[in-house]
Every structure is written in structure tokens, then in C-alpha cells.
């Protein structure tokens, strides 16, 4: 269970890591800005399995005769992966750029497209530790405010205490702090105005459920 924490001038060590084993893009001592990628990995976007045996009506042991690519080879869109000559030549072309990742039991598996995963610095700071292949630990001096509950979504912006005299639009982009539980209507108005997040001292159950959604 989280406990409420409020500290000022605290050194915060914050690990920022990938869920995959990738490449760290920054070095120790480097100063980071908010949103800067610290590690990344490029993964295939999707796969395609082509069954030579059933498509070419051949025996699995004959597969090698018709393949034009090997496992691990990169391919470009339109490259011939397999070809069966004959009266009507049957050709299997790569639908997209990618790589041959498997040839087994007469089936060719292609990893196609790219999906980049990045670990981004959530706030500015200095890199104090490298986690090989995964990311870094960022250090900064800051005030720490830890609540007991959050909805798991991150937001960033200047911390603003809510003031009835000010309009919702003037708080756009900020993290708005409420001393009293606001109504759902008021919260929606703030969200529509582009507020980055809310900090409550207390919330009503229906607001908690809405925040969770």
C-alpha cells in the first residue's frame, strides 16, 4: 500500500527502463530533458507465415529447392522469398520489408514492418546509472509528493492550486490541486480545457470510478 509522502529538496533516483532488451541511447552524466528517449528497441510489427507445402503442393523435404532466402536474411517489399517454376510459375513475394525469421516443416515465417519501443525520460534530470540494454537511472533534486492512489496515467505540467476566481482555460496544461473534492461537471470542464492532471486531498467514489476509467 502506498503511503502519503511530501518532501522537499529530496534527491530522487528514478529508473526508466524498457520491457525488452534494447539499446541505451544516453551516457552517464548526460542531462536529460522531459520526453527524451533514453533507450529503444525496434521490434517487428507483425508476422506472416507462408505454408509452402500446401501452397505449392510439395513434400516438406523439397522445401529447400524452392526457397530463395535463408533464415535471418533481410527482405524488401516485393523480394521473392520462394518460387516454384512450372507452366505457371508460383511466386511468394515479401509484402513488406522485414526479415525471414524461421523456416520449419515447410513453412516460412516473415517478421514484417517495424514497431519502435522507447523509454522516455518522464522529467528532466541527470543520468547517474546505466542499466545495460534496458535504460537508465535518472537523478534530480525535487519536491516529492506521493499520493495513496492514482489511476495509473501520467501527466506533466506546472503545479497549480485551484482558485475559483480563475477560469479553467487559464489552468490548461497544468496539474491542478484541489483542496476540496470537486464535482464531476467541474472536472469535465477542466479536462475539456486541457488540464494535464488532478491532485485531490479527497475524492467522492463516483469521481474515483470516473478517474479510473
Amino acid at each position: 500500500m502506498n503511503t502519503l509522502l511530501a518532501k522537499s529538496h529530496e534527491q530522487l533516483l528514478w529508473p526508466v527502463t524498457l520491457e525488452y532488451s534494447g539499446k541505451v541511447l544516453v551516457g552517464i552524466g548526460e542531462t536529460l530533458t522531459t520526453g527524451q528517449p533514453v533507450a529503444e528497441i525496434t521490434l517487428p510489427d507483425h508476422f506472416q507465415v507462408f505454408d509452402l507445402v500446401s501452397s505449392y503442393r510439395i513434400h516438406p523435404s523439397e522445401t529447400d529447392q524452392y526457397l530463395r532466402r535463408l533464415v535471418g536474411e533481410t527482405i524488401q517489399a516485393g523480394d521473392i522469398v520462394a518460387q516454384k517454376p512450372g507452366l505457371v510459375t508460383k511466386i511468394f513475394r515479401a509484402p513488406q520489408a522485414g526479415r525471414v525469421v524461421s523456416i520449419r516443416d515447410g513453412k516460412v515465417t516473415l517478421a514484417l514492418g517495424e514497431r519502435k519501443h522507447q523509454a522516455l525520460a518522464p522529467f528532466p534530470g541527470e543520468v547517474v546509472e546505466l542499466i545495460p540494454g534496458r535504460g537508465v537511472v535518472i537523478a534530480l533534486h525535487a519536491a516529492v509528493l506521493q499520493g495513496v492512489w492514482g489511476n495509473g496515467i501520467t501527466g506533466k505540467g506546472p503545479l497549480i492550486a485551484w482558485d475559483e476566481a480563475e477560469s479553467a482555460a487559464s489552468m490548461s496544461g497544468g496539474l491542478v490541486y484541489f483542496e476540496q473534492a470537486p464535482s464531476i461537471t467541474r472536472l469535465r470542464r477542466f479536462l475539456d480545457a486541457g488540464v494535464a492532471g488532478f491532485i485531490f486531498t479527497t475524492i467522492l467514489p463516483n469521481i474515483g470510478i470516473s478517474c479510473k476509467k
Partner: protein, 529 residues
């Protein structure tokens, strides 16, 4: 900013050392395990671990009717979240299957390939797809593969996947068609689960090293003990254990050597406010109920402060158990529970444990809640495992097999009550059963008559032994084997005595909150004397 697990362990050991007066740690803070004697150190340590966060799991089976059903049942033994179910024979094509696997982001794969000697082609495709997935997705948490037959492809899968200790080969859980042996897969599944936990829970491997032992899933530990208790149970009935954690619920039962176990996430859910409102013996608005559930969600250690909070906690605990029992009976029909009508399966004792029970104000409240949740039929005993010793014993059984048997003989559970449920087509107020209580030579025999709709408590001296003669009306079932059949019953005095529940099944709870509250108070008064 969670506290380090290893630091918590040392703190616990220091406390244990202080309270027991037995030196456990050396000057460097290490557990004394080598030069132990009767004043210092331990011969061995065991570690059980209950994981509240479910592990994302993919089930790969050859047929929906057999292997997938068996895998679902096996998967219920641990706290798993089934991210996808792949039926190799039904899958449209290999590409769709591979993309399906890719989206799961699973940490655990359970593969069941049907009976030994069964078809292999579809399963080979699935194994190949898993191989491609593992090779192209270099995840930090290495997924674990548990292969549970068919045996002809076991070596093939191990060689193809080539993932070393992340592959776990188990005997076939469906050796022949129509025969299921879930326990055959238990060891391999536990080993895989352990390896996932060590990767997901920071500090857990340091705890293992400090204790020089390997962790066991707490579900496995309690399951092991339930099976042992069932094997030595003189009544011949099954054993049922219900563990209510703050965010999870474990229901484990053993009957005729077979294990039934379900680990379920059970967080307070404001979405269940309406269902809860129907059962609370107090006037509560939906908003009040949601407020309470949300507070429980945010603060798992929240303690009921008012009478209304206590009633809400009572109803919420009851609903959690009912939802869990329903889930168990869906996956394990042999468990013999029907929602509303109650638990028909013969289990004695029923063991209750967990931190959630500590939120209820008295043992009478716990007993009433348990009866309402379970609606048992026939005769049973309800006991409390207050210190949650069952799981600890199950873990210790691996290093000191005699210890659990010795401790069980010494009476480790707190006996709450013996419950006799009498049911039959008798209108309210009419006689259902006559009872004759024989508490020994020096005591007068007591005669009690119980009418339909009544809830009676016969107070007995705790730890005392007595005999009870049951004489039900001709169509009334008192749990003696058939309607109208009576006989002598030996009971040992629980803290709350012997309870005769003639309220009927399903339990007729008043729709009016005020009447419900009055009934609840009457039943509590009956229990508390």
C-alpha cells in the same frame, strides 16, 4: 517507493528472535543454518509466497474439449490471468495464431498436446510460433514454457525452443482420453511460476538466497496440506479451505484424493455495489456502498469504523466468497456448489483463514458470514486458521515432512462450531428435528426441538466431547445420508457450540433492510448466548 523485501524479512526475523528468545540471526544478520542447536539457529527454512498480481498466461491446447479444459483447471491452481487460449486444431491459420500470441505479452505459456500418441501436426505449428515469438521479442522477463504432453513431442519442444531452464517438461496431464491428472503438472508449473516471480518481484531472489531455500507458491503449500488433511480425515469427507486475502481469494478443496483449487483476484469492486445493496442488513445508498468499496480499494488495511461499515464489510466478504465459489464450480463441476442453493459437496472441516477475517468484529460474525456465503448442507465443522499456519506448514513439509503431521495432531485450528443444516419440505414454524444432547455421565441429557426457520445454538464447553442424537421428521434431511434418517453424532465443542440451521436453502433473507438487520441481530444473539 516500496520497502525492500529483504529488509522486511530481516525485520521479521529479528521480531521472531525477540519474541521467541531463540537466536536466529548471527552478528552479521545472517540466518544461522549451519551451527544450529536447540538454543540457536534453524535446521532449515522454507519460503512460501502469495502473489497478488496475476501472471499473464497463454494456454495452448490441441482440443477444446479435453486438453484446453484440463489446462483451464490446472491454471486455476495459481494466480494466473489467462491472456489467450489457443486451440491448435481450431486455429484458422498459423499467421493469425502467431499474431494472437504476439498481442498477449505473456510471461507464462502452458502447452497441453492431448493424449500420448495423439495428433502432432497442429501442436508442432504452435510450438514453432512460440519459438518465433521468443526469438523475436527479447523481453526482460524471460517467459516460461510448461509442456504437459503429449509426451511424444516433449523432447521435440524442448529442443526446438532451446530456452534452457525456462522450459519445464511435465508428465502428460491427459495420459489417456477421459483421464485427467492435474497433479502431474503441478511441480513443473510451480517451478515455472517461481521463475516468473523471481523476475517480476524485486528483492525476491535475495530473500531466497538469505534463507538458502527456494520459494514455493503459497497455493501449492496450502494445497499440499489440504490433501494431507483429506488423506487422514477420519470422517471420510473432503476438506475445504477458504483463504481471504486483502486482494485475493483462494479456495482449495480435496476430495477422494483429487485437488480442486482456485486462486482469484478479489479486489473491492465499486461495480458490485448494486449486488451488495441487496444483501446488506442496513439502509445504505449506492453512493455509500461505492464510497466504502473505494476506500477499501485504496486502503486494503482499512478497518470498519462504524456499525454501517461493519455491516458493509460483512456483506462484501460474503459476496466475495459467493463469487469465488461460483467460479470454482464453473471450472470444477465436481465441487458441487450451486449459487443460492449452496454447497452440496460434503466437506468437513471447512477451514477459514486470511487477513480479511480480522476485519470482522467477532467469531460469531465470522461464522454467520461463512454460513451465509457457503450455505452448506448436512453436517460440517467450521474452523479458523487464525495464524495462517496451513500455508507455512505446507512450505515446511518439503524440508521437514513429519512436522505438519505432528502439528496437526496437536490441534492447530480454532474450532468455531459444528453446523447441522436441516432441510426439507416443512412449512415455517413446524417441527423439523428433535435432538438429544449427551454431555457425559454427570450431566443431564438435554432435549431440543428445532422448527423450520429457526437458527439454534447449543452451547457446549469448548474442547469438550459430547454426543448428539438427531431425530429428524420423515422428509427432513439432517445430513445423515438420507431424508428422515437420524442417529448419534459425536461432536467436539467449538467456541460457539453446535449450530442447528433450519432456515432452509436458499437462505430466506428478508428484503426489507430493517427486518434483515433485526434477523441478523437475533442470529448473532443466538450465537453469542
Amino acid at each position: 517507493m516500496q520497502r525492500d523485501l529483504e529488509a522486511q524479512l530481516i525485520e521479521l526475523l529479528q521480531r521472531l528472535q525477540l519474541e521467541s528468545g531463540h537466536k536466529l540471526l548471527d552478528d552479521e544478520g545472517q540466518l544461522i543454518q549451519r551451527d544450529f542447536d536447540e538454543n540457536r539457529g534453524v535446521r532449515a527454512a522454507a519460503l512460501s509466497f502469495g502473489n497478488s498480481r496475476p501472471i499473464r498466461t497463454v494456454l495452448v491446447a490441441t482440443s477444446a474439449a479435453y486438453s484446453l479444459t484440463a489446462l483451464r483447471r490446472l491454471g486455476k491452481l495459481l494466480n494466473l490471468e489467462i491472456a489467450a487460449e489457443i486451440c491448435a486444431q481450431d486455429e484458422q491459420n498459423a499467421t493469425a495464431q502467431l499474431m494472437n500470441l504476439l498481442e498477449t505479452d505473456a510471461d507464462l505459456f502452458l502447452i497441453a498436446g492431448g493424449t500420448d500418441g495423439g495428433s502432432q501436426k497442429a501442436l508442432r505449428t504452435s510450438i514453432e510460433n512460440i519459438r518465433v515469438l521468443l526469438n523475436t521479442q527479447p523481453r526482460i522477463v524471460h517467459p516460461q514454457i510448461v509442456y504437459l504432453g503429449n509426451e511424444a513431442l516433449g523432447q521435440y519442444a524442448q529442443k526446438e525452443l532451446d530456452i534452457g531452464p525456462n522450459f519445464h517438461l511435465a508428465p502428460n496431464i491427459i495420459p489417456v482420453l477421459g483421464q485427467e491428472d492435474l497433479l502431474a503438472g503441478w511441480t513443473a508449473l510451480s517451478a515455472a511460476y517461481r521463475r516468473v516471480l523471481l523476475q517480476l518481484v524485486p528483492g525476491l531472489s535475495a530473500v531466497e538466497q538469505r534463507l538458502a531455500t527456494q520459494l514455493l507458491p503459497s497455493e501449492l503449500c496450502s494445497g499440499r496440506m489440504i490433501r494431507l488433511l483429506e488423506a487422514i480425515n477420519p470422517s471420510g469427507k473432503g476438506i475445504l479451505s477458504i483463504h481471504l486475502g486483502a486482494e485475493s481469494l483462494n479456495i482449495t478443496a480435496a476430495q477422494s484424493g483429487e485437488l480442486i483449487s482456485c486462486e482469484l483476484s478479489s479486489c473491492p469492486d465499486p461495480g458490485q455495489a448494486q449486488a451488495l445493496q441487496r444483501t446488506i442488513p442496513a439502509e445504505c445508498s449506492l453512493s455509500e456502498i461505492k464510497d466504502y468499496l473505494l476506500s477499501r480499494l485504496v486502503y486494503p488495511a482499512y478497518k470498519p469504523a462504524t456499525r454501517q461499515d461493519m455491516l458493509l464489510e460483512l456483506a462484501w466478504t460474503c459476496l466475495r466468497i459467493q463469487n469465488g465459489l461460483q467460479e470454482v464450480s464453473t471450472v470444477f463441476p465436481e465441487f458441487d456448489y450451486q449459487q443460492g442453493l449452496g454447497l452440496y459437496g460434503a466437506y468437513e472441516p471447512i477451514i477459514l483463514s486470511g487477513d480479511a477475517l480480522k476485519l470482522l468484529p467477532s467469531q460469531a460474525h465470522i461464522l454467520l458470514m461463512a454460513i451465509e456465503a457457503l450455505c452448506p448442507h448436512g453436517i460440517t465443522t467450521i474452523v479458523l486458521d487464525q495464524d495462517q499456519i496451513l500455508t507455512a506448514l505446507g512450505a515446511l513439509a518439503a524440508v521437514e515432512p513429519l512436522l505438519p503431521a505432528q502439528l496437526i495432531d496437536s490441534g492447530i485450528f480454532e474450532n468455531l462450531a459444528t453446523l447441522i443444516t436441516v432441510t426439507g419440505p416443512v412449512s415455517e414454524g413446524r417441527k423439523m428435528i428433535d435432538l438429544e444432547l449427551d454431555q457425559g455421565k454427570d450431566q443431564m441429557r438435554g432435549l431440543v426441538q428445532v422448527k423450520a426457520g429457526e437458527f439454534k445454538c447449543l452451547g457446549l464447553e469448548p474442547q469438550s466431547s459430547s454426543r448428539l442424537y438427531l431425530s429428524p421428521q420423515s422428509q427432513v434431511d439432517a445430513g445423515m445420508g438420507q431424508a428422515g434418517l437420524g442417529g448419534w453424532l459425536r461432536t467436539s465443542g467449538g467456541n460457539l457450540g453446535v449450530i442447528i440451521d433450519a432456515r432452509g436453502r436458499p437462505l430466506p433473507l428478508p428484503g426489507n433492510a430493517q427486518e434483515h438487520a433485526k434477523k441478523l441481530q437475533d442470529w448473532l444473539n443466538e450465537l453469542e448466548g
